[in-house]
């Protein structure tokens, strides 16, 4: 039974020259789990927006898009709201109410359900998601992962037949992302809701996927079950969106069936031999030292940093791992002089951080890029932040972005532009807070190349991240943060091999032979 059918669907945004989707045809059956992937700007979001008519942007549509045999445009507002649920990328902004209960009731209130129906639906959904205990909680107090689950739960209150999700996990940490996807898969399996999810990191999704859809420049280049797609000689671009077992399979070509999950991958790659590693001997002077540092937000609050010690050497790329809320961001802010510790010593380039006066700390010395790259931009055009700078001479050429508004470019492009702006004052020590959040594989590669370019010039980086694969590619040393302290610091290779959870899929599959 088909729930959604597209026939030669094309869409061109108003004022755009190129179509964002060009003659896309596919059909989705009821109860299927469809994963849409492709690089940023490939038309994933556009496709989802066309299915949900409230979100359809201005532009020209041609071809057919049928929901349950009827054109989407002929659905009534009420039908569309009730039958098609939607969850978008950023959990923060899609929540309307200040209380969890209010948020769950929102859909029922808007559609004017009777009191009985509304309570019944909300009660059911909130028990399923475990929101019954948080019902009176304020929404800003929830963690990012819980917020995203709340968005999903409140979309389910109207009992939709189809749920659309636009990169719902791209801003979540790995643990929360895994929770979210497993919940989504459970809902799909148990209630039979059709799921269409756009995501560029498919490692969590592949095992649940019935149909894999790959879009490239608005064209549908692959559509079928994951096995079908992978057996039809996928292109390099398709592969870069695939999880580690698949990528490794195509790199090494061990023969046999392509593994889709880490578990299947372990059977294939467990015997792989370790690579020879050159020993790195670095004897650089420490540029950042924290000794017995304590920090708390309020006088009567709890300590966030509890006697933290850290030493970072010149020219090093240091990654800091740790659970959500363990104090990674606070550590960076303290080390960058943006938050003041109340006890202990922080010194940068052999000088106490408090001895830097009148902002000289941030000229040619230290800089930081916070989690939200939009905070960098205070002007209306990206280029205005780079006055009097030759844009094409930067390690990453941002001249194509110069004339555009910061909110009009993709997440990855914005992050790169922000990174370049941070490096503009030629700092020698840079703190990055989750720099690759919302970046696809291609953007990550560009980021790593740029990072190395600066490293060659002797810049030291301290990066707070959840991305172990990124660390495996570029970090010299990694630290693990827990309970307000760094509990271990060692070479990246040793670090990833020694961990069971904070490690890469590659390392998991090969038993530590490769990272």
């Amino acid at each position: 039974m088909e729930i959604l059918t597209a026939k030669n669907l094309s869409f061109t945004y108003a004022k755009a020259e190129k179509p964002s989707l060009s003659s896309v045809s596919f059909s989705v059956d009821r109860g299927q789990f469809v994963t849409v992937c492709g690089p940023t700007g490939c038309g994933k979001s556009t496709l989802l927006r066309l299915i949900k008519k409230e979100l359809t942007p201005k532009g020209e549509i041609s071809g057919e898009l049928l929901y349950d045999g009827k054109p989407i445009s002929e659905l009534s507002e009420r039908q569309s709201a009730e039958k098609i649920g939607c969850v978008v990328q950023r959990p923060e902004e899609q929540i309307v109410s200040d209380r969890v209960g209010g948020e769950l009731f929102f859909g029922a209130e808007s559609l004017g359900y009777t009191r009985e129906t509304a309570y019944r639906r909300v009660a059911e959904v909130s028990s399923f998601f475990g929101f019954d205990l948080d019902f009176d909680k304020k929404t800003p107090e929830l963690s990012g992962g819980r917020k995203q689950l709340l968005a999903l739960a409140s979309a389910l209150v109207t009992s939709p037949e189809l749920i659309l999700l636009d990169e719902p996990t791209s801003r979540l940490d790995p643990v929360a992302a895994a929770d979210f996807i497993s919940m989504l898969a459970r809902i799909n399996k148990e209630t039979g809701v059709t799921v269409i999810i756009a995501e560029h990191n498919t490692s969590l999704l592949l095992e649940h996927t019935d149909r894999l859809m790959f879009l490239e420049d608005g064209k549908l280049t692959a559509f079928g079950s994951p096995r079908e797609v992978l057996e039809s000689k996928p292109s390099y671009k398709v592969l870069s969106d695939m999880p580690a077992p698949v990528r490794m399979f195509f790199e090494r070509e061990p023969g046999g069936k392509c593994p889709l999950t880490v578990k299947e991958g372990r059977a294939v790659f467990s015997g792989v031999e370790a690579e020879n590693r050159e020993e790195k001997e670095r004897k650089d002077k420490p540029v950042l030292e924290l000794k017995n540092v304590f920090f708390r937000h309020k006088r009567d609050g709890a300590d966030v940093l509890k006697g933290l010690d850290m030493t970072v050497n010149g020219g090093e790329i240091r990654f800091i791992f740790g659970g959500n809320g363990c104090g990674k961001t606070t550590l960076l802010r303290c080390a960058a002089g943006l938050a003041r510790h109340y006890s202990g010593k922080v010194s940068v380039f052999d000088k106490k951080i408090t001895d830097y006066k009148n902002g000289e700390l941030y000229i040619n010395n230290v800089s930081m890029l916070c989690q939200d790259a939009t905070a960098v931009f205070t002007h209306e055009r990206i280029g205005d932040e780079f006055k009097g700078v030759d844009l094409s001479a930067l390690p990453y050429d941002i001249s194509p972005l110069a004339g555009r508004h910061p909110y009009d470019v993709s997440g990855g492009e914005l992050q790169m532009a922000a990174f370049c702006r941070v490096m503009l004052n030629s700092p020698r020590l840079v703190f990055l807070d989750e720099p690759t959040k919302a970046m696809d594989a291609a953007a990550k590669k560009i980021f790593i190349d740029t990072l190395f370019e600066y490293k060659k010039k002797g810049v030291t980086f301290v990066v707070a991240s959840h991305d172990t694969e990124l660390a495996a590619e570029c970090a010299d040393n990694c630290s693990m943060m827990f309970d307000g302290r760094l509990i271990c610091t060692c070479d990246t290779y040793e670090f990833l091999r020694g961990n069971r959870f904070y490690t890469t899929d590659k390392c998991r599959m090969t038993g530590g032979a490769l990272v």
Partner: protein, 228 residues
């Protein structure tokens, strides 16, 4: 509350509350021969206006985007009231009315006063402040086109709003402090407040001229991008 469950009951409340309030306002005026009747009547009458205004909005169905933009302006205005020396509330109310329409303007004006008073203290004066600020936003929406086109008209509107708000609130000051609403008394408090009115109006103009163009650009961009 059981009454709110069905529509009929809601409609009855909607009609009954203003009616009851009107009756009680008249009653108060009748039996309170002396003292603070003016203060009480002023509050009741404004409360009535406010309720009538706000209940009129549901039928107009403000769209989700305009509603959220209204909420954004209210939040910015309320947050702005916390910054010392920087109180752009009136200017933001005018800008929101001018850019998002009269109804949203009234909503932004009245609710930003109500919400910021949660922190600064609500009282019998709240309905007065709500109505006057709401009207400032409402007329900014009515005069949207000339205000957007001409800076001088915008500045003039800022001055007028400053004078209007001060004089409106002086009604409250007079009748709450002296218990009567004699014209002489009122004139006294108006003259006493002249320096504040001037500072207030001038700051309105400054904020309007500083904030209106960027907000016009920002909202214009969003209107173009998302199609408002």
């Amino acid at each position: 509350m059981t009454v709110l469950k069905n529509k009929n009951a809601r409609n009855i409340i909607r009609c009954a509350v203003p009616a009851v309030l009107t009756v009680s306002a008249v009653l108060c005026a009748l039996f309170a021969s002396d003292g603070r009747k003016y203060a009480v009547i002023t509050v009741i009458v404004t409360l009535l206006t406010l309720i009538l205004f706000l209940s009129g909005f549901d039928s107009k169905r403000i769209g989700s985007r305009r509603l959220v933009l209204g909420a954004v302006f209210i939040t910015l205005a309320v947050a702005g009231r916390f910054i010392p020396q920087l109180k752009p509330l009136t200017a933001l109310v005018i800008i929101s009315g001018m850019l998002t329409g009269a109804e949203t303007g009234f909503l932004v004006g009245s609710l930003s006063v109500l919400i910021s008073n949660i922190f600064f203290g609500n009282g019998p004066w709240t309905p007065l402040q709500m109505v006057s600020m709401g009207l400032i936003g409402f007329f900014a929406g009515v005069l949207s086109k000339p205000l957007q086109k001409n800076k001088i008209i915008l500045a003039l509107y800022g001055v007028l709003c400053g004078i209007f708000y001060s004089m409106f609130m002086d009604i409250w000051t007079t009748c709450s402090a002296t218990g009567s609403l004699e014209f002489a008394e009122y004139l006294k408090s108006v003259t006493a407040a002249v320096p504040f009115t001037i500072i207030y109006s001038v700051s309105n103009v400054i904020y309007l001229l500083l904030l209106a163009p960027p907000f016009q650009r920002k909202l214009g961009r969003i209107a173009e991008k998302y199609g408002l």
